[in-house]
């Protein structure tokens, strides 16, 4: 069953690649492929939600020698979220991707990028994680440069360079890890790392991985590529990037620092905690200085990632569950905000908040749809963001880490300020009339409102049904902290 999650997008990508002469069909094909992925993801989640761990040894080579795919609860939740965003964007893209771009391979690259993301979430092997990272990066590089305006090339260049540096660090870490442990299978690594006596080298390796994944997850002081590049990409692409790509880095951090590098949490997780605080602060302060709709949102990605890292760094069951909950909430909300920014731009022809206005008066439905994710992001009850923040902060209070709780609360306030700024500037105030700037005369269409409404509905559902969602996060966190079932599921059959 796991394999279908990988085969569907790959097959879809290949079909789209081969039919580049018939771009008119691409939208339909892409939608069907995304729907199939969504169904497969739901099926996998129903199988793992009880705590079962699915494994697959590709090519029948037993772990730890072969390529292993593992779907535990965290992986399946991440896969489902990816499928949801992929599905929503597949509908949304109809209005934004013209036949020419589709012919150049927009949808094919999109499916191949999703293929890479699924793979990264499902793999049970460090080197394979590297390969999946590269698959999704190469696809994302190409997606980013598809429009080839000079601003896009610039943004893509920064993105590419920094990610290549991160990949090099990742490789170095893999090399050292193999030298120390003699294996790269995550379950095997967890087993061997727990028995290791001399952990100095392991700590060095942990720090190298922290830098590498830190760049990809955009944590303080490694996040500068993100606000410089995300806002240059086409909106459907930016929405997927914003929702998913940094979260792949966060996922890798959570996986590695809850499974392998846990021998000296005083050292590693304290660093993570400090990083988390600074990430939250710098992100939200950066957002306050911006005027571009997308750049404000980009900086907020950074500050929100701080909360997830904080959950990981506190490293209690409740905190890790909070981090998982936060990821669930954040992926849906952030992608949605980017999609809305795209709609506003299509109507008013600008991303600059000082030039926008009057959206509330003209399109009250759109304003309502923005209101839900924006104030969920800011943490207003009873929306999903409130419960996510509450869990993480409660976990911090429980183990008396008051400094980080103080920072988290302060950043929450500043987030409200920032969202209110967008609300007031874009939706509430009267639009300033200038000569050089004129509305495009476009109206929002159902094709783009449906995915936005769908994601907003999910935000509300997560908020109202916070109990069950929290229960899932809790179980995922338990699986992360209790390695025995994971190790047995991966290595058990072979010995």
């Amino acid at each position: 069953m796991i394999i279908s999650i990988l085969i569907i997008p790959l097959l879809g990508g290949i079909i789209l690649l081969l039919s580049s002469k018939r771009p008119r069909w691409h939208f339909t094909v892409n939608f069907l492929v995304s729907s199939a992925s969504l169904i497969a993801a739901v099926i996998v989640l129903t199988q793992t939600v009880s705590g079962r761990i699915l494994t697959l040894q590709i090519g029948n080579w037993p772990a730890p020698f072969g390529i292993t795919l593992v779907a535990d609860l965290l992986s399946s939740v991440m896969v489902l979220l990816t499928a949801i965003i992929g599905w929503a964007v597949a509908i949304y893209a109809n209005k934004y991707v013209n036949a020419h771009q589709a012919g150049e391979g927009f949808f094919a690259l999109m499916q191949l990028m999703l293929f890479g993301i699924y793979g990264a979430f499902l793999t049970g092997d460090m080197f394979n994680l590297y390969v999946w990272f590269e698959v999704l990066l190469i696809a994302s590089f190409s997606l980013m440069t598809l429009g080839s305006t000079s601003r896009q090339t610039e943004g893509a260049f920064k993105y590419v360079l920094l990610n290549l540096v991160a990949s090099a660090f990742f490789l170095v870490g893999i090399g050292l890890l193999y030298g120390v442990a003699g294996t790269l299978n995550m379950a095997d690594l967890a087993r061997k790392a727990a028995m290791m006596e001399n952990t100095i080298v392991l700590q060095t390796v942990a720090l190298i991985f922290m830098v590498s994944f830190g760049i990809k997850a955009a944590v303080f002081p490694l996040y500068f590529w993100l606000p410089a590049s995300y806002h240059t990409a086409p909106i459907p692409v930016a929405a997927i990037f914003a929702g998913l790509l940094t979260k792949v880095g966060v996922y890798a951090l959570i996986r590695v620092f809850s499974l392998i590098f846990i021998h000296d949490t005083n050292f590693t997780h304290t660093i993570l905690l400090i990083v988390a605080g600074l990430t939250m602060l710098s992100g939200v302060i950066g957002a306050a200085a911006q005027n571009d709709f997308r750049r404000i949102l980009s900086f907020h990605i950074i500050s929100q990632i701080g909360y997830m890292i904080m959950g990981l760094a506190l490293f209690t069951p409740l905190a890790v569950a909070g981090a998982v909950f936060y990821i669930i909430h954040h992926i849906i909300v952030k992608s949605n905000l980017f999609l809305i920014a795209g709609i506003v731009e299509r109507i008013h022809g600008s991303f600059d908040v000082s030039r926008l206005g009057d959206v509330y008066k003209k399109w009250p439905l759109l304003a309502l749809l923005f209101f839900i994710p924006a104030f969920s992001l800011a943490g207003i009850p009873p929306l999903s963001g409130f419960w996510a923040k509450l869990t993480v902060i409660k976990a911090g209070l429980d183990i008396r880490q008051f400094a980080i709780v103080f920072v988290a609360l302060g950043v929450g306030l500043l987030t409200i300020f920032s969202m209110t700024k967008i609300w007031a500037q874009v939706f509430w105030k009267e639009q300033p009339i200038t000569k050089e700037h004129r509305n495009t005369g476009n109206n929002p269409v159902w094709m783009e409102l449906i995915p936005v409404a769908f994601l907003a509905l999910l935000t509300i559902i997560i908020g109202l049904l916070a109990g069950p969602v929290f229960e899932i996060s809790n179980r995922a966190a338990e699986q992360l902290l209790n390695h025995k079932p994971y190790i047995e599921a991966v290595l058990g059959g072979g010995r």
């Binding site: 085969i7 790959l10 097959l11 690649l17 697959l56 090519g59």
Partner: protein, 136 residues
């Protein structure tokens, strides 16, 4: 860049390169060689032709669109994993025929996979070369 020496030499070198790449491809599953390196050797031949006679000649030599070649290669590699599923084994398990053939050795699904890799590498590498040469 047109060079008489390269042009003349290529007439002898290129067929050998293509043959050698085929040789590498079919022996790859048991001996040093394989789809990747075979693809690179074939792409090297295409590259040399493109250097000596221009992009349009290189494209004609490749016969089919480079991107199409990449796509079909991917498809072939993916298909090579399917027989294992239908016979009840894990995805991408290698299945082999009993008989052996001279030069090639045993036949099985891994050779399909290798052929797919060959096409992907050839397609991507020549596409890069065409892309770089065209806009100069």
């Amino acid at each position: 860049m047109r060079s008489l020496i390269l042009n003349t030499a290529l007439r002898f070198i290129a067929p050998i390169m293509f043959l050698f790449s085929f040789f590498l491809l079919v022996r790859g599953h048991n001996n040093p060689g394989g789809g990747f390196i075979a693809g690179l050797v074939a792409a090297a031949a295409i590259t040399l032709y493109t250097l000596s006679s221009g992009v349009s000649y290189g494209r004609r030599l490749l016969q089919i669109d480079a991107r199409l070649l990449t796509g079909s290669g991917l498809l072939l590699a993916l298909i090579s994993g399917i027989p294992a599923i239908t016979s009840g084994q894990s995805f991408m398990t290698g299945l082999w025929l009993e008989k052996t053939i001279i030069v090639i050795g045993k036949l099985g699904t891994p050779i399909l996979f290798d052929a797919g890799v060959f096409m992907v590498v050839l397609g991507i590498t020549s596409n890069i070369i065409f892309e770089l040469m065209e806009h100069n």
